[in-house]
Subunit: 357 residues, 2 copies
Amino acid sequence: MLNFTVGPVMSDEEVLAIGGEQVPYFRTQEFSDIMLENESIMKELVNAPDSAKVVFITGSGTASMESVVMNVFTPHDRLLVIDGGSFGHRFTELCDIHHIPYTAIKPEQGHVVTPEMLQQYDSKGYTGLLVNIHETSTGVLYDARLLGEFCRRNNMLFVIDAISSFLADPIDMTSVGADVIITGSQKVLACAPGISIIVLGEKALERVWSNETKTMYLDLKSALKNAERGQTPFTPAVGILRQINARLRRIKQNGGAPAEIKRIRNQAEDFRHKIKDLPFEIVSESMSNALTPLHPTTASAHEIFLELKDNYGIWICPNGGELKDKVFRVGHFGSLTFADNDTLVAALKDLQDKGKI
Amino acid sequence: MLNFTVGPVMSDEEVLAIGGEQVPYFRTQEFSDIMLENESIMKELVNAPDSAKVVFITGSGTASMESVVMNVFTPHDRLLVIDGGSFGHRFTELCDIHHIPYTAIKPEQGHVVTPEMLQQYDSKGYTGLLVNIHETSTGVLYDARLLGEFCRRNNMLFVIDAISSFLADPIDMTSVGADVIITGSQKVLACAPGISIIVLGEKALERVWSNETKTMYLDLKSALKNAERGQTPFTPAVGILRQINARLRRIKQNGGAPAEIKRIRNQAEDFRHKIKDLPFEIVSESMSNALTPLHPTTASAHEIFLELKDNYGIWICPNGGELKDKVFRVGHFGSLTFADNDTLVAALKDLQDKGKI
């Protein structure tokens, strides 16, 4: 199957080979060395300050989102949450569960957060802002610089879930002033799903150390203590962490974040150029390089997903909920080539010829 | 490396091959079918009642332990916890974090819980009992039947963490009256680490549905709702779940739980026979087939671990904390053969010849 979803995506040969190897025992210096290198390259790729720390959680991106909400914030905070789609909305649900007061900023579907929308929240005593910088459900990339400036002038903690944006779009923890960046193994890192990653800056770390422990599995204190020697509190997904190591090393070797981002941008631009004649509308005013969100004007988005899966050996990414029939998404990361774009576009044109779109 | 740890362990060729394959997109009927089959075979292997449900958590065994503590119990409960080693102790820490009252029963290290030890807790208003049925840190297998009878006559919920005992020792959810059984992907299932599994009986399910939601990632309500159609609330470790599927099918085909348990028992007995002349004391009065806990009388346990790792290409399982120098453990699950036992015993005899043990 040719995989254009937004994760899990297709891995390269090197990552696949590691998946096929025996998983080593991990309470060893050998595994610690791998983990310390993972931390170091992750910091480089997001341009984290030296004082930042990296935690690898065995779990989905949501595990890391919840871990950050539980460890960095308390009911004494007052947060702003960018709620522009199902992933942004998840942050509001996490705040509800953990009794953390918040105000949701709700940009219209497909639209960004503007300076005007933020203005009314200046100097109102908010203590932090949570955003999925690329709202993966609708394909809207928010402006990290704008949000970062807002947080800086209001002395707020700035949490970026960059799960599908990391290495697809430029992100600079230091220059935007982010305190937390979250990502996962199965997006641009293109490894098997099962690991999510949290980069924590100094202000977030101070919060973690001073807050009460509310969970064992998602506790960042024990994760940070173990991470100092390259270990984890509990048996992690060792195999996936080894895959991540290979990918991080390779990305670094091939020119770092800028080169990887360029590769994905080219892949996205090639696809967007090739679909110009198809009856699809782009439904985002600010796209990430990670994916293209498309509204088919002549057919059900979900039907197209099923057709491609069942009759062409191609996965695109369906949506759930109210977007199920309206929007499908085409991912541009993982081991994809321009030729793969040709294959997908040919299949779509074939569906058009058959009157199905 | 030859791996005699207690996880991750060596996988068979079939499981490794899946690890080397591309991870498929999972919001599909094809993946749902795999998950529904995983649930069905898991229930068979523990002889769960028809009404039982199975949840697959992307996380370590501790994630499932915490999930059960958070979802099944509340501060209105009063629990008994068997605290005979570091894994049993973890249940007490989870109860502390989540404000669930408990009494710890502390058998001496290496010893089981006796009927006499339980007697004093009869008719005292306890509502549940938590046990790591095989205290993996010290290699003590508790008597599930004894604990189950105690719970039944006191109308208590009975939670068995069987992480390293499942498929190494007989376990029958129905006949011992267990309400919850927990295990993980990297023990006898011998897949990559990253998935833990919870089997929930009717009484536990009632608790889950009536209790307040305290977590998103470890919430069993949303996991159960999604599991009905073979899905998970968040992106799971899809690759490992596919490995689990292959293993479960193979175990079923090869004679089910009894055949797998017999294989591991034979492996354990062969090893225990072959080390009779070495200067090791067995430190458990009731061993699981899963592992042999050994106290070397003439050398540091941790030194032996390092010697075998660095000079013989063999991992045995070290201990942490106060047992670090006193006890090492030799696991008997994963793709091990009698010839592998010979290799390990020969290495140990070589260390003896060199005066190192």
